[in-house]
Symmetry: C2
Subunit: 333 residues, 2 copies
């Protein structure tokens, strides 16, 4: 028996602040085409939306799939969205507010679309196809410029009524501490995000304590990326290693706190920084989380790194689009 969904195709879209990626999947979620371009948010909303459509069409062309065979499009976006109405609520770096992305895509491609938070989508992908496959409950934590979180319980993503939730980067870890981008103090993001790490590492370069990183990047934050930090550590920059280990430990401590509340079976760590330094992150996060977890939870969870890499958000968004279609298209999970 061939199910209709095996003939249909699904498009997953990762709409990031610097790049966008369209991926086409067959009915069994095998990748059959991709396209990737720069987002260029400075060109304004209309130009970006045109680029989204063009990138989807390019991926469909690569997959040799006519637009008519697309059963649904799922978009993952790095910011708060309203999954019910398919709206990007705010995109601080792009200056957008209340962008009805679902409606735009449904009109342009004449198929169903859903809009999800990117970490929700990535965690869902890891649950369906990756490191947390079939787990009863999953906490996803993706440190990047910020630190995104997602919680999935018995197959369902936990969400607010009109907005995605799990703002893991804004767990308070130092009351009255360092100022965070959100305007409050002492958020995890202010001490353990890639941006916070890069800022500390740049200061170390400036002080002459990180010769490896000085060769690779210098003191410009914009040049200190995940791969650069990994290279500097491999080149022997002890100070850089200590900075990253400290941040990973802070992350693990906050994860331990979440374990005391939610008792997930699996914690999935993802994002570029974890991909660049998987063993370091696994080690430090496990150690700190086990120390922080209360007795009933110690040993009750495993920590894993994400397996789906760059494709996770697009794949998860496509799978959520397929779920929404199965549920009659009323709502995304």
């Amino acid at each position: 028996m061939t199910r209709k969904s095996e003939q249909a195709c699904w498009v997953g879209f990762d709409l990031g602040g610097t790049k966008m990626l369209a991926a086409v999947f067959d009915g069994r979620f095998r990748l059959i085409g991709t396209a990737k371009v720069k987002t260029k948010g400075q060109d304004g909303l209309r130009a970006v939306l045109s680029r989204v459509s063009a990138t989807i069409r390019a991926a469909l062309a690569e997959a040799r799939v006519p637009a008519g065979r697309v059963a649904g499009i799922g978009v993952g976006f790095p910011g708060p969205v309203d999954p019910e109405r398919g709206i990007i609520l705010a995109a601080p770096n792009l200056g957008w507010r209340n962008v009805p992305l679902r409606r735009v895509l449904e009109r342009r491609f004449r198929c169903r679309a859903i809009v999800a938070n990117d970490v929700d989508a990535g965690t869902y992908a890891e649950y369906r196809f990756g490191a947390a496959r079939g787990a009863r409950s999953v906490l996803g934590v993706f440190p990047g410029t910020g630190i995104g979180g997602a919680f999935l319980y018995e197959g369902r993503l936990i969400r607010g009524r009109r907005v995605t939730c799990m703002e893991f980067g804004h767990v308070t870890v130092e009351p009255g501490g360092r100022r965070c981008g959100c305007g409050r103090r002492g958020c995890l993001e202010a001490v353990a995000s890639r941006l916070a790490i890069s800022a500390e590492a740049a200061a170390a370069v400036y002080r002459g304590e990180a010769p490896g990183l000085a060769r690779e990047a210098g003191t410009d934050l914009a040049d200190i990326k995940s791969g650069t930090l990994a290279k500097a550590i491999r080149a022997g920059d002890r100070v850089v290693e200590r900075i990253v280990r400290d941040a990973a430990g802070r992350l693990g401590d906050a994860i331990g706190g979440a374990i005391n509340l939610l008792a997930p079976d699996v914690v999935v760590l993802g994002g570029g920084l974890v991909e660049a330094l998987p063993r370091l992150f696994l080690h430090e996060v496990r150690r700190a989380a086990e120390r922080k977890a209360m007795a009933p939870f110690a040993g009750s969870f495993r920590v894993a790194t994400a397996r789906l890499g760059d494709l996770a958000t697009a794949l998860g968004a496509a799978a959520l689009a397929a779920d929404a279609a199965d549920a009659g298209g009323r709502t995304a999970r």
Copy 2:
């Protein structure tokens, strides 16, 4: 049409550290009998279990219900339980470990039984019959000797694989701060539980700053109960009022942190301290939680006090027993 469950009765049991309460409900969860006695944990496990059975029989006698009409028994217990196997995992104040309470009750009463955490049960009761009726998602917070928490999402209590979760009293609010009963430092419980408040209030009595409380209770912690604190505040003890308001604000701050993760639609505050001072707690918790909640969540939740009082745990446990019977008795929700 009369459903079978309308003829059946359900027993809810609140097994507290100082008292136990059995309540009998008809098929529509109307109360038809109760019995309440002291727990007297110092008599040992066997004696307490006998007392549990006798108290259930006393409530059934009051309700004029023969044991054969009991369709199920639900027990709420103030500590970590394994809801799947129906086991009390630990009862620090009573010195118990791994008590197979479900099996004991199923043998004695020849009906299905379930064992739940008391705050899970109380929050479930408020969702089914009380202050959070029908809400999409509910955070329950019950400050008492400790501070219990529960989270309910689309009708399901969030739980760990082998143990209840939401250890809300052990959210870290002061890294490196006051020592908590759990052995770690800076837990919410160490600054905002009824016990922490009573300890601060006793010190205020000792310093001569709380004449009202001095008349009511003195400096013995065991005498400074929720009602006593409320009386002292009404009698004009400003220092006591400030201590309680500070604690309620700390509680609200931690609740705001949980809102940034879980975005509940309703926060239900319960327990004796909140019952004694509902307006004070509502005001301080709302204020602190709104301040702590990030922009997308501010205004997205309401804070309510529990409506079901002393009966909440028993009623919720009875309803969970009925759900488990509906689901084929395989597992409690």
